[in-house]
Amino acid sequence: MDKEKKNLNRREFFKGGIAAAGTLAVVGTATFILDKSAAKSMPREDFLRPPGAISEEDFLYGCIKCGLCVQICPVHAIELAGAGEGLGFGTPYIAPRIQACDFSCDALQCVETCPTAVLDFRPFKEEGVRAVEKAATEPGADLSTVNPFEVQKVAMKEAVRMGKAHVNRNTCLAHKGEGFKGNPRGTDFKGVHRSPGKNEVSASPLKDRIFDREVCDLCITECPIGEKAIIQRRSRSGRKLIPHVLDGCTGCGVCQMVCPTAQPSIVVEPF
């Protein structure tokens, strides 16, 4: 009797086990295929991985989808992808046109908080240390006036490479020789940023800001990196002043957010 029961039990286990294995095989193959096809059709220009993101292939399994980076971001730039968005359910991304990363946290907090290092802090840390050492050894450097924290902050920020901005010559106001007056994104736009020109401590709503420029240069003046990333220069014909993106561009997307044209005329393309 007992042996019979044991056999029955074992049979039940194998029956269930085979069903479970079958389910797993189906689920596994489906995820694999969906993942591959989604990765191909990824709308890459619509989203950026947060600063310090490692290669997409490693990112997809390394990210445990806890959302700590989402929670720590002071401007709420990071969102978690929903199902079927082709980014891997629950992985973080930044949609810069809606809310760009403006570095107002000052120390790459999303990267620092990531427990699995898919947002890898080490390169930034090294960059910061190097910058402080360099500042201290520079000829004529007065150690009493060098604030290592400030130096580190700036160096870490400048080491970010989420992508690079590209200007669309056909729609850019500066390329058309036009200026801009007013509110770039309308009065109901929810995005915030810390303008480099205003010396603010934290970010403030973009909708509260009114600009008046003879030649539109919002992407240049609002860039949190400054002249290492984007400058204004004369066009070849010499008649127009146009924005020119340099290799120092971090791909933060502030330019994309503040661009006043209906479709952004400057777009960050992820690497």
Binding site: G17, V27, D35, T116
Partner: protein, 315 residues
């Protein structure tokens, strides 16, 4: 002594069943039925547990919404006042994949601290107690279970059960899948994570999957996910094997009424409550037990209580 700690004494020969004179209802001077039903309305432990579960899950939600920074993140990975906590099955998958890709060395110290902190915490507090005291899906499933039991009682549906060891097939299977596809496959199906994240970051399409599982539990098989699938529970069950916190069973107070088995999520762990099944005067419920306390609430003789295993031998 150590072997006693881990053994459930199932293989020993059973004790002689108690005579009518020795039964607790006779000693209390009640009829068996009155005695059996005497604690049916008692829900003390369940209410405490629900309060803890809801408090912890709402703490996650409000930490984010109100920027309280007490318990940040989600059940997949979190930070409690600055200390990291990692979901072990999630971490296990990650470790399995990254050991094949060399990513292992990249993982931060916070990750390791978080993983070991949570393992030690639940090792002390009972392993699968995570399920009944923390897991938001467990809370939903308990309500689904009530509906299911009602339908079974009204004979609208037939009860279906499967082998309890299937969880370990899924545990190993999803680990293999993760390595093969280089993706945290289970995380896309993980109803615990989906519910937790939906509460904190807003609903997603995958809630439909949760709904499907709940409907399956209501109409087909009682507590299907928790009993037969969830590899997170299976991981905790392994951790709980060595846990000192367990439900203690005292044979002399038991009236063989089986009320405890009726409410239990894992009735196979209460194998010794049947008349003539117990092999020792005292048994500790095995590691599949979620320490939910439903049996403690319902036991008319107080034969089942929360206890610390091995405490008596230490004192």
């Amino acid at each position: 002594m150590l072997s006693d700690y881990f053994s459930n004494a199932k293989k020993k020969s059973p004790l002689a069943p108690k005579t009518v004179e020795q039964m607790p209802h006779t000693l209390a001077g009640l009829s068996f039925k009155d005695w059996r039903d005497s604690r049916k309305k008692n829900h003390k432990m369940r209410n405490i547990r629900w309060a803890v579960l809801l408090f912890m899950n709402l703490l996650f939600v409000f930490s984010y919404w109100l920027d309280l920074a007490i318990l940040e993140g989600s059940l997949s990975g979190s930070r409690l006042i600055g200390f990291y906590l990692m979901d072990p099955y999630n971490s296990l998958q990650l470790l399995a994949i990254s050991s094949t890709t060399g990513y292992l060395a990249m993982l931060t110290m916070n990750f390791w601290i978080g993983l070991f902190t949570i393992l030690i915490f639940w090792l002390i507090f009972g392993g699968r107690s995570y399920c009944s005291w923390m897991c938001p899906y467990h809370f939903l499933a308990e309500w689904a279970e009530k509906v299911h039991n009602y339908l079974v009682k009204k004979k609208k549906i037939k009860e279906r059960s499967y082998h309890i060891g299937l969880r370990f097939v899924f545990l190993v299977g999803f680990l293999l899948l993760a390595v093969l596809t280089r993706n945290l496959v289970f995380e896309n199906l993980n109803v615990v994570g989906i519910v937790s994240k939906a509460m904190i970051y807003g609903p997603s399409l995958l809630l439909l999957w949760v709904l499907a599982i709940i409907l399956f539990e209501v109409f087909v098989s009682r507590r299907f996910w928790c009993r037969y699938v969830c590899p997170i529970g299976a991981t905790w069950s392994l951790v709980g094997k060595a846990s000192p916190l367990a439900i203690k069973f005292e044979h002399d107070k038991c009236g063989y009424c089986l009320e405890c088995q009726k409410v239990c999520l894992v009735p196979h762990e209460l194998w010794f409550v049947k008349r003539g099944a117990a092999t020792q005067d005292v048994h500790y419920v095995g590691s599949d037990c979620t320490r939910c306390g439903l049996c403690v609430d319902v036991c008319p003789g107080n034969a089942l209580t929360y206890a610390v295993r091995g405490a008596s031998s230490l004192l």
